[in-house]
């Protein structure tokens, strides 16, 4: 790629300075409600854009388009899972979560249970899931940098990860939820404009005929016409097919249970705005994922799948290569800047969520039993954000060069296993109790983690995290198909085998409150 690293860095610098200035202007974080939830002051439309901003990570932007360019149809399967998944928050979660909680997922899960154990469990799940997601994003930043700024030495990439981490910590400390939300909104806007322009441009090249575009994509790919149907990536064997079904299940059930997605519902004033948030987010994502289909096949058609695989960064380089091909160094620099903003915004959102969960659930409610000294919770949240930011930098540096693409999918599997069953039971099953909550959170989280450690993602294959030793016992790289049903089962068994009666007053309150918002 002949992009101009200087131009890329300059445009990136402008974006960072502009967003930091804006974060500084909108900030106003005197209370925990401001820091965690922006005082509930965003409209549904704004929060919808921010939701899509939180959700559409660099993995979506670069990864899916790249996968479509190289493997054809199988990349598209990701898009569909990521999009369809949003019906779960729309139909089951967004409004109820807004009505019941204030700041974190722990608020909802512990509402009618024994506070301390359930809050601690919810915080543990939040921290583990966010850590997986964060690590993937930070390591992805390293790869992107290698690609776009032409920083090839490990030391140089590590330095850039430190830079990314530092900016992200600044966003969170200065801006809190309000600043972070504005970063997400701007990022989502930039991303949408960017992908829509690219796809119109690509379609224009092929006389606005999808069929012509597909034809060229097939001719420029050694797979030929196999790119029009599924199977290139997952069709190899019975195991890989089952792995795909497992992944699909994790994607569709995990999205709505991601802690940083759930936390977004608290930034709007009421349940109706929470519903509108999801509706706007879905519209934005329909456009985005349709565009990735065009961009993916477009990159295959215009750049060619061989050239993409030979470039540094392989599949991830498809979109930047395409941008260079159709719009020269300036468009490449713009795409690079959008990709960077994407990473920054997503890691800022994750750090905020993790720090909120620790400060609000663990510190204020578990350690201080719901009565922290005034101002102390905020202080803890800020310190936690810095600590998590530093850990993310460290983890990102350690994970440099590792295969981390699947970490995002694993975060979805963890969320679907640890969070979704517990949230659904809490909201819809009257008898569900503390024992059931703990069984399904820890059972889902533990079984999922255990299966990951013994999966091919961790050891035994050339793309594993540990290449040289082989202790993989579980054949699938995504554990969702086992751990999600297991967590539902454990929640059920934990409830019926404990003698504990559920708290009737709080249950009544939860039922009324989740539907009507009375008492919220």
């Amino acid at each position: 790629m002949n992009g101009d690293p200087l131009l890329n860095s300059a445009i990136f610098g402008v974006v960072v300075v502009a967003t930091l200035f804006m974060v500084y202007r909108v900030s106003g974080n005197s209370t925990t409600a401001d820091y965690y939830a922006a005082g509930g002051g965003f409209s549904g439309g704004q929060n919808g854009l921010a939701l899509s901003g939180d959700y559409l990570s660099a993995a979506s932007f670069l990864g899916i388009a790249g996968a479509i360019a190289v493997q054809g149809y199988d990349g598209f399967l990701y898009s569909i899972g990521f999009l369809v998944a949003w019906l779960i928050p729309l139909l089951l979660l967004a409004e109820r979560v807004r009505n019941v909680g204030r700041f974190t997922m722990g608020d909802v899960l512990s509402f009618r249970m024994r506070q301390r154990p359930v809050r601690a469990a919810a915080a543990n799940a939040t921290l583990v899931i966010s850590a997986f997601y964060l690590l993937a994003q930070m390591a992805g930043a390293g790869v992107l940098v290698a690609l776009l700024l032409d920083v090839r030495s490990t030391g140089g990439q590590a330095l850039v990860i430190v830079g990314v981490g530092a900016i992200m910590i600044l966003y969170v400390l200065i801006g809190g939820m309000r600043g972070t939300t504005w970063v997400q909104i701007i990022k989502a806007g930039l991303l949408l404009v960017c992908v829509l322009m690219l796809s119109v441009f690509i379609l224009g090249r092929f006389g606005f005929s999808m069929s012509n575009l597909l034809d060229r994509a097939a001719r420029n790919n050694p797979l030929g016409e196999a790119v029009f149907s599924p199977g290139a990536r997952y069709g190899e064997s019975g195991t890989s097919k089952l792995d795909f079904v497992s992944l699909a299940l994790a994607l569709v059930l995990g999205a709505g249970a991601l802690p940083h997605v759930l936390m977004r519902f608290y930034t709007v004033p009421d349940a109706r705005q929470a519903r509108r948030s999801v509706v706007s987010a879905i519209w934005a994502m329909v456009l985005f994922y349709l565009a990735t289909l065009v961009i993916g096949y477009g990159a295959g058609a215009i750049v060619g799948s061989r050239a993409i695989q030979d470039a540094p960064g392989a599949e991830n380089s498809a979109v930047p290569l395409l941008a260079f091909e159709v719009g020269g160094p300036v468009l490449l620099a713009l795409v690079a800047a959008v990709a960077f903003t994407t990473i920054l915004a997503v890691v800022a959102g994750l750090t905020l969520t993790a720090s909120a969960s620790f400060a609000h659930d663990v510190y204020a409610n578990v350690i201080k039993r719901g009565a922290p000294e005034p101002g102390a919770e905020m202080r803890v949240a800020r310190v936690t954000a810095v600590v998590i930011g530093c850990l993310a930098i460290l983890g990102g540096i350690l994970a440099l060069g590792q295969n981390v693409a699947s970490l995002v999918a694993l975060a979805f599997a963890l969320a679907a296993s640890a969070n979704l069953p517990t949230i659904l039971y809490t909201l819809f099953w009257r008898r569900f109790n503390t024992a059931g909550s703990l069984a399904s959170i820890y059972g889902g989280l533990g079984s999922c983690l255990l299966l990951i450690v013994f999966s091919p993602v961790f050891s035994g294959t050339s793309t594993s995290i540990v290449e040289d030793v082989d202790f993989h016992l579980f054949p699938l790289s995504n554990p969702g198909i086992v751990s999600i049903p297991l967590s539902f089962l454990l929640g059920f068994l934990g409830t019926i085998f404990s003698k504990e009666r559920s708290d009737v007053t709080r249950s009544e309150q939860l039922e009324v409150r989740s539907v009507t918002g009375i008492g919220a």
């Binding site: 598209f76 019906l87 097939a218 009507t516 918002g517």
Partner: protein, 123 residues
């Protein structure tokens, strides 16, 4: 003001607040209107969720195990798989629009009425 007017409209209905002036959750939960509202909401959410999950899983299983069928051409280079994939987009938008309309027409007014009777200002 709104409290007074609703009281005047339906004098037989007591406020759903307890002695301390807080919402009386037990009373609200026992209210036939609330039970009906809750059931209506749960029914829609359950039917829509099961429908979209089954439809999505059918698609996933076809993509994994019926690749030849998915590769059948419909016109030009456009395959059954591509159309089914796009139909997942369409069904997602359809369910979203239907739910929004249902919520706006059948849920929001009922919720507003209950909130008013419980002494909570309309959102």
């Amino acid at each position: 003001m709104t409290r007074m007017s609703s009281f005047a409209r339906a004098p037989e209905r007591e406020y759903l607040v307890d002695a301390a002036g807080d919402p009386d959750f037990a009373a609200i939960r026992a209210l036939p209107e609330f039970v009906a509202l809750r059931r209506r909401l749960a029914r829609f959410a359950a039917v829509a969720t099961v429908a979209f999950l089954l439809w999505y899983l059918t698609y996933v299983v076809l993509a994994a195990y019926a690749t030849e069928f998915m590769g059948t051409r419909v016109f030009g280079n456009v395959t059954v798989g591509l159309l089914l994939g796009l139909s997942q987009f369409a069904s997602t938008v359809l369910i979203m629009v239907l739910y929004s309309r249902f919520a706006r027409r059948r849920l929001d007014p009922e919720v507003a009425a209950l909130r008013e009777r419980a002494g909570v200002a309309a959102p």
